[in-house]
């Protein structure tokens, strides 16, 4: 597929700083989110497996973070002053790979190898192989802790980067998340932002209210000393607003953005059966066509 109709950084000169809050229209960011969904379908098809519904719920978050919110430098994934992004729910990494290629973190051609032995791009992200990955993940619940470490290092090294950690809502069932939450507020880490992808489902075949309740998420984080913001995480404008209003990295209270999303967002059959689509099913035949059509129809 081509990128027509979708804003791209592919033509940005290497080394340019992509500033925080840089301009992008809602339509552009929305298109980008759909592009992420399409590319996710392509890559899963290519590899033979992957997590559609978990990636679809965060497409708007990815789009806004990487094309509007985060301070980055094109083609320099290790630039020391970049904002960091950690994907706690690492099983949605597949949606990051096209973005990272577009940002010049590695050649677009790398995507062609996705799913083959030896590919640096894997189902869960590996920081040693996939440039742009600020930390590896795979075991749910670790990355908020790692993010605390990265944010603490920011303070010790006197750098003003922000550290974003995107967790699943099932992921916050892990106690380590609460150890990290406690430490983040204790250490006054206003440079740390947790984003909870509240799509209502973990890997079980019922919603989390049935399998292991996690609500009220905002009250839990706020009792652990965090600012909380609750938004529709599939609504570009709400996502942009929430990130635009983040307190300064030098402030003293970490922020938790609770992004209410739909697991499988953007493809009806997945929205209706989010967990049948968690892992183990492949889009084929008419379903595949239908899913692509649905997504493409929204590109403006």
């Amino acid at each position: 597929m081509t990128n027509s109709g979708i804003m791209t950084e592919a033509t940005t000169p290497a080394g340019s700083v992509l500033e925080r809050g840089r301009s992008a229209t809602t339509a552009e960011l929305g298109n980008r989110a759909e592009w992420i969904r399409l590319r996710t379908i392509d890559l899963i098809d290519q590899a033979g497996g992957g997590h559609y519904s978990s990636t679809f719920s965060v497409a708007e978050l990815y789009s806004v973070l990487y094309y509007h919110t985060m301070r980055l430098r094109h083609s320099e994934p290790k630039w020391v002053d970049r904002d960091r992004f950690l994907l706690g729910k690492g099983h949605a990494a597949i949606g990051l790979w096209p973005i990272f290629a577009d940002l010049g973190f590695f050649p677009v051609a790398w995507l062609d190898g996705y799913g083959t032995l030896g590919s640096p791009l894997t189902d869960h992200p590996n920081m040693r192989t996939a440039p742009g990955t600020d930390f590896s993940s795979g075991s749910l619940g670790h990355n908020l802790s790692v993010g605390v470490g990265i944010a603490l290092a920011g303070r010790a090294n006197e750098r003003d980067y922000r550290t974003f950690v995107l967790t699943g809502d099932g992921e916050i069932q892990e106690g380590q998340v609460w150890e990290a939450a406690m430490a983040a507020s204790h250490y006054g880490l206003g440079n740390l932002v947790a984003i909870v992808d509240a799509n209502g489902y973990a890997g079980g075949d019922g919603s989390t209210s049935v399998t292991m309740n996690i609500e009220p998420i905002a009250d839990r984080f706020s009792a652990f000393g965090w600012n909380t913001v609750e938004i529709n995480g599939n609504d570009i404008e709400e996502v942009v607003a929430a990130f635009d209003e983040l307190p300064s990295p030098s402030s003293k209270i970490p922020t938790c953005v609770i992004a209410r999303t739909m697991k499988g967002k953007g493809v009806k059959m997945m929205e209706l059966a989010p967990n049948a689509w968690h892992i183990g099913k492949l889009l084929t035949g008419a379903d595949l066509v239908q899913a692509r059509d649905e997504i493409e129809s929204r590109i403006r």
């Binding site: 083959t116 032995l117 894997t122 590996n126 992921e171 069932q173 079980g204 989390t208 399998t211 183990g280």
Partner: protein
């Protein structure tokens, strides 16, 4: 390398295929259901992904507990249930089992001699598509270092049944190291009798001995068949018990063939190879020994079947190891 179809690739433990298999009679949930029908004291715990419990959920809802994505809690909750007389089976993705809950297992379960059963599904490379975080290649090392732990490695579903039933009244914990084959390979035609602490000779032979676990047993049997055609007699031993371990069987092999190949889906450090080498070393029983398993280095990530080929844990791979071992001078 063989080109795999999408369907074949997807045959991991979460696939529809696998769920379908799980809906059939010969699956863990069904077995545990049957067991609880008879005993009434069996409980099943999962940490999310309750589908792995199969029909147990529906048939015994008062004895089924999903604790969410919280493995350490799951293990300690199981200890509490066991303290009250239940026999809890914790069914965890292996990579989040022994490694993630080592302390809870040692301190809450094993030190207290509680009958928790840890069914670790997807050991070795079976979840390897998901990433390095999902490889389970240290679990035997950990499990056997924990006092009071019984460690078994079923090579097929019949072996699993045998081991579940023969250990059900054991007062302490049991770690079931489930290879992917433990749920669908075919080593035993019927449920074998596996005595505590005994290996199983699944094929007699006199020139060389393979001691294997899990998927390695099937690969070894295949290699033995090939070599039989060349007039080489390969003994194949299924190391179903890793703790207590069958020292006599190892020493017998050393004496009998004097050439031992170990095959395992575990780091070559700390697993079956280590156990066999250790027994030989401790008993001054010199034998040629080749330890074949996963190298102690960053492991590749891909579909399980691709990884198994990559690391040679196949008939062809074991065959090659055997040829090398046979070529060595005694």
């Amino acid at each position: 390398m063989t080109e795999l179809s999408t369907e074949e690739k997807m045959e991991d433990i979460f696939s529809e295929e696998s769920v379908k298999r799980a809906a059939q009679a010969r699956n863990i949930g069904a077995e545990l259901s049957r067991l609880n029908d008879v005993r009434g004291d069996v409980a099943v715990l999962v940490a999310d992904m309750g589908v792995v419990a199969g029909e147990f959920r529906q048939r015994h809802p008062t004895h089924f507990f999903d604790l969410g994505i919280a493995e350490t809690n799951t293990m300690s909750v199981a200890a509490g249930l066991a303290a009250e007389g239940l026999i809890p089976f914790t069914m965890l993705m292996s990579c989040f089992g022994m490694l993630k809950c080592a302390e809870q297992i040692r301190t809450d379960v094993a030190s207290n001699h509680l009958p928790v059963r840890i069914v670790a599904r997807g050991t070795g490379l079976a979840l390897g598509f998901f990433g390095t975080s999902h490889h389970t290649v240290e679990d035997i090392a950990i499990a056997r270092s924990i006092t009071n732990m019984t460690v078994v490695a079923p090579s097929d579903f019949n072996a699993f049944l045998s081991l579940v039933e023969s250990t059900i009244d054991l007062p302490g914990p049991v770690y079931f190291r489930m290879s992917s084959g433990a749920e669908d390979a075919s080593v035993y035609d019927s449920v074998p009798v596996i005595e505590r602490g005994r290996f199983m000779t699944v094929r007699p032979g006199s020139d060389v001995t393979v001691i294997a676990i899990g998927n390695g047993v099937v690969a070894a049997l295949g290699a033995a068949e090939v070599l039989a055609g060349e007039g080489v007699s390969v003994e194949v031993i299924d190391a179903a018990y890793l703790k207590p371990v069958d020292e006599q069987a190892i020493l017998r092999a050393a004496e009998h063939t004097g050439r031992i190949l170990t095959v395992e889906e575990h780091n070559v450090i700390g697993g079956l190879g280590t156990i066999v080498a250790e027994v030989l070393g401790r008993h001054r029983a010199p034998s040629l020994l080749k330890i074949f398993g996963l190298p102690d280095e960053d492991l590749a990530v891909s579909w399980p079947a691709v990884l198994i080929e990559h690391y040679g844990l196949t008939v062809t791979g074991v065959l090659e190891q055997l040829r090398q071992l046979l070529a060595e001078e005694k």
